[in-house]
């Protein structure tokens, strides 16, 4: 108890020191300016679009969970860019099933289009009661636990085996709502997995 209280004091003093450093480093700044936080909603639309244009697909996907309006903004502002996405693929990554996005983008010189891939989400994971780094998200109306993987740069869903069907269905639905044919007419959903294939295939063709 004593240690945690000490830690809190240290953390508070670090925080205040951080604020002080900001004030000192910009001598003309007033405290009013330091404590303000950014509100993306207050930025002009073209600037919002410019910021979203610079984000990776995976960051856009996770940002879309923040609010319904954010999801709408992402879908409407990124219509042109999303047309570069060719397919959403359920595949195996280090023996774990994941969903990834395959798209075309300009090379570094900006002279020609090259194919690229981004891993978006780990689809299947065995939930352990001891996990304490999970966070919950509302995915297509269902609350699902996720955790930031220690091994990969993308979050993965954590769930009990008996919840498998509804979790997979929810994840597929959210991927469909953002990257589905209503937004990207030429997109295809592909499955390169040996197990859970039946369920995913049913979801894919059901759409």
């Amino acid at each position: 108890m004593h240690v945690s209280s000490q830690n809190r004091k240290v953390s508070e003093s670090q925080k205040s020191r951080h604020t002080l450093v900001i004030i000192l480093s910009t001598d003309y700044v007033s405290l009013f300016h330091v404590i303000r936080t950014m509100k993306l909603s207050k930025i002009p639309y073209l600037v919002q679009k410019e910021i979203l244009d610079n984000m990776k697909y995976s960051d856009l996907f996770w940002l879309s969970f923040v609010s319904e309006n954010m999801k709408t903004l992402i879908k409407s502002s990124q219509v042109k860019r999303f047309r570069n996405i060719g397919r959403v693929v359920y595949e195996s990554f280090c023996d774990k099933p994941i969903a990834s996005i395959h798209f075309m983008t300009k090379n570094k010189q900006g002279t020609e289009d090259v194919p690229k891939k981004e891993n978006i989400i780990g689809v299947f994971c065995d939930y352990k009661e001891s996990e304490d780094d999970c966070f919950q998200l509302n995915v297509s109306g269902k609350v699902i636990d996720f955790r930031l993987s220690h091994y990969y740069s993308f979050p993965e869903a954590c769930f009990h085996r008996h919840d498998k069907e509804y979790v997979i269905e929810s994840i597929h639905m959210i991927l469909w709502s953002i990257f589905g044919k209503q937004n990207i007419p030429s997109i295809s959903f592909q499955i390169f997995l040996t197990y859970h294939c039946g369920l995913l295939f049913r979801l894919k063709t059901g759409r």
Partner: protein
């Protein structure tokens, strides 16, 4: 870290050129602060460039430019950035934007990342109003980079988006839900 292969294509740091003496003008912010700036720095803003050209065409003395939609604190940051980049070719910034291949030079990265998010937002908005392509590019890229690899909760905090239950439930609800 190894140097990037296409560094030759990137905008090079400004090199001092032998040129005419600096022409200094006063710039007034919306809250009445008066700052001084080199005209070459102000020409990076298409909006201010058009105003300056208007004065020059009519042979009117340019004593003070009024920037009515930017406060003094933010205007100072804008002018600091423009002063650093006054030798840059605006066509490079436009080309970078068109190619979606924006590389933030180290000075700009330091300048922008040291700002709190609120001030960065003000700076980008000011750059948008003043039409400074390079500053918009670097500012937006910096904001996008700051969201990289963050969880949804961290993004919510970063972009100042309240939780759904903190939102007003009336028909006057704002953009944030």
């Amino acid at each position: 870290m190894a140097p990037k292969k296409n560094s030759a294509k990137r905008p090079q740091p400004s090199t001092p050129k032998p040129s005419a003496p600096a022409r200094i003008v006063k710039v007034q912010s919306s809250d009445g602060h008066i700052l001084q700036a080199d005209v070459r720095a102000l020409l990076l803003s298409s909006t201010l460039a058009a105003t300056i050209k208007g004065y020059d065409d009519e042979n009117k003395p340019l004593e003070k430019l009024e920037v009515n939609n930017v406060v003094g604190f933010t205007l100072k940051l804008v002018l600091e950035w423009c002063e650093k980049h006054k030798e840059d070719d605006p066509a490079i910034a436009q080309a970078e934007k068109d190619k979606k291949n924006i590389f933030i030079p180290s000075w700009d990265r330091h300048f922008l990342t040291k700002l709190p998010m609120g001030n960065l937002f003000d700076l980008i908005t000011a750059a948008y109003h003043l039409d400074i392509t390079g500053l918009i590019n670097y500012g937006c890229k910096t904001v996008a980079n700051s969201a990289k690899g963050k969880s949804t909760e961290e993004m919510r905090e970063l972009f100042g988006i309240p939780e759904p239950w903190e939102q007003p439930s009336t028909s006057t609800a704002t953009w944030d839900d």
